[in-house]
Subunit: 311 residues, 2 copies
């Protein structure tokens, strides 16, 4: 346990960043029936709640330092549920070296609601921001895009698996990607040293890249065909080309989209390889405004909505 | 706005405590229908959510540095509600010099749920803890005890005001104390410099003092007659002596209970006076275990439950 947690016996925790470092602070809440299904395994719910925050730290180039948790629980969550939740949370706290520092448990007449504030450290002045993208920089993205949104579709639409002709392994892959995100904390240092801008992809690649462009006062041109897809997502698109919109705007990816100046590109890819994180170049930053996604015919893809919203 | 908030346009905030200082971190959640009434003014709800956290910072001797917020909102909370909420929150952020640094707003099918993580700074190594009380120290408490629990009673029990023979001003006082806590941040430095142990009183004086005693490996003996009461609370007790249990165990006081070594007592009271915070000596720390409350006849008061629980 972190010494600053005071054994979880005091009213507050103590955090002191190393000399010359700052704390990066991020807060995200997840709600039963909105961000996860009430019947999901409690350990998976806990890991998702922590990992959506770890994903923000990763994108900001920060090294995890700990987290605090507030947990609002309905009466239906008994001992067994709570044990599973604590086990999942503890395993990830250890795996990502991000210890629990404190928090609060309260009753709710509503669904399980988990709010986590996570802390990371960066050398002062070196957090990766949204606002640094410059025309000519390359746009890169980690992992694969769209799996989680397709996994959610599989759970909500009976018959989707058959319609998309997915074998069991593909279904498992998409469902797992929705259930428990894979934050890219291993890439944090490479991003901090090489990215001109970065953010995590939580509300859909199209919308989030649009936000990064706005913060940077720049545009971006993306070749949709270069966006990295899993085998399962490729199978879905082969059966249903319309699903491309879900892939690019569906959200819950918890990958990182970043921009890297050309002169740093080689170094960045080498660092990503060493970190064991797959990174793909998908386009470049332009002098215009907005993130434009181009189809194979070079024409712009237009989405009904650029960004996923839970509302 | 705090420069570390990055204009609330990035994914994370940056916090750097001053050299030689540490961050004190505390997190508390409040839930509609549990910690406040759904129909309470949204500005008051916001202030309560922030102030329960400010109260923890006060008790730890920390100077407020900022907070992050996650807000889970049902569809029923529209523009007007949100404007009132933001206005109340902004007013208190300014008043307590505790700026909003970031956060997350999500949809919930349940009640309004507000989770706040608040940050304060202390010179490294000088946070007021629960664990430092020593036999012979004096036990002190701020403000008045029991008002909030009695105010909640007034709202829940039709006819309580008549039964307790309360005039309008007394009713208003108790109701206001429940609706919006008055955290004792002005006392933070006096506590940090003089208290051997301190915590905020949120779950009832009897239970919380018991926790402080356990953390300190000590006991406490309190004369119930010395516990500071408002005029309204005294009126309630005159009409209904049994209400003493509600006063001492009811919770939601958001006052500070602290222990002060005798040699620092004079300095502490002088500092409290300068800070404009009323402080009352109510008993002393003993070598035993547990917090014992003694009645006027010198016999120990026994409560059905020592600490208020929302469950």
């Amino acid at each position: 346990m972190h010494p600053g947690a005071l054994g979880l016996t005091d009213d507050a925790a103590i955090l002191t960043p190393p000399r010359g470092h700052s704390l990066v602070v991020t807060a995200d809440a997840v709600v039963g029936g909105v961000h996860f299904f009430a019947g999901d395994p409690p350990g998976a719910i806990a890991r998702k709640a922590l990992r959506v925050n770890l994903s923000d730290l990763a994108a900001k180039g920060a090294k995890p330092a700990g987290f605090v948790l507030t947990l609002a629980l309905p009466k239906s969550c008994g001992e067994t549920w709570l044990k599973g939740f604590a086990r999942g949370l503890g395993a990830d706290a250890k795996r990502f070296q991000c210890p629990l520092l404190g928090g609060d448990t309260v009753y709710t007449p509503g669904p399980v609601t988990i709010s986590i504030t996570a802390f990371g450290t960066v050398p002062s002045g070196f957090m990766a921001r949204r606002s640094g993208a410059r025309a000519g920089d390359r746009v890169v993205v980690t992992g694969t895009i769209g799996d989680s949104a397709l996994g959610l579709n599989l759970r909500k639409e009976r018959g989707a698996a058959a319609r998309w002709k997915l074998d069991r392994a593909m279904q498992r892959h998409l469902l797992a990607r929705y259930l428990v995100p894979q934050p890219r904390n291993a890439l944090a240092e490479a991003l901090r040293l090489n990215a001109s801008a970065a953010m995590d992809v939580s509300d859909g690649l199209a919308g989030d890249l649009g936000k990064l462009c706005r913060a940077s006062g720049a545009g971006a041109e993306i070749e949709a065909a270069r966006v990295p897809l899993s085998k399962a997502a490729r199978a879905v698109l082969a059966a249903d080309a319309e699903a491309m919109e879900t892939v690019l705007t569906g959200g819950d990816d918890f990958e990182v989209v970043a921009t890297v100046p050309q002169r740093k590109l080689k170094r960045f890819f080498a660092a990503a390889r060493r970190a064991g994180v797959k990174v793909t170049e998908i386009g470049r930053v332009t002098a215009g405004t907005g993130a434009r996604f181009l189809g194979a015919d070079g024409r712009r893809l237009v989405f009904a909505r650029a960004s996923f919203s839970h509302f």
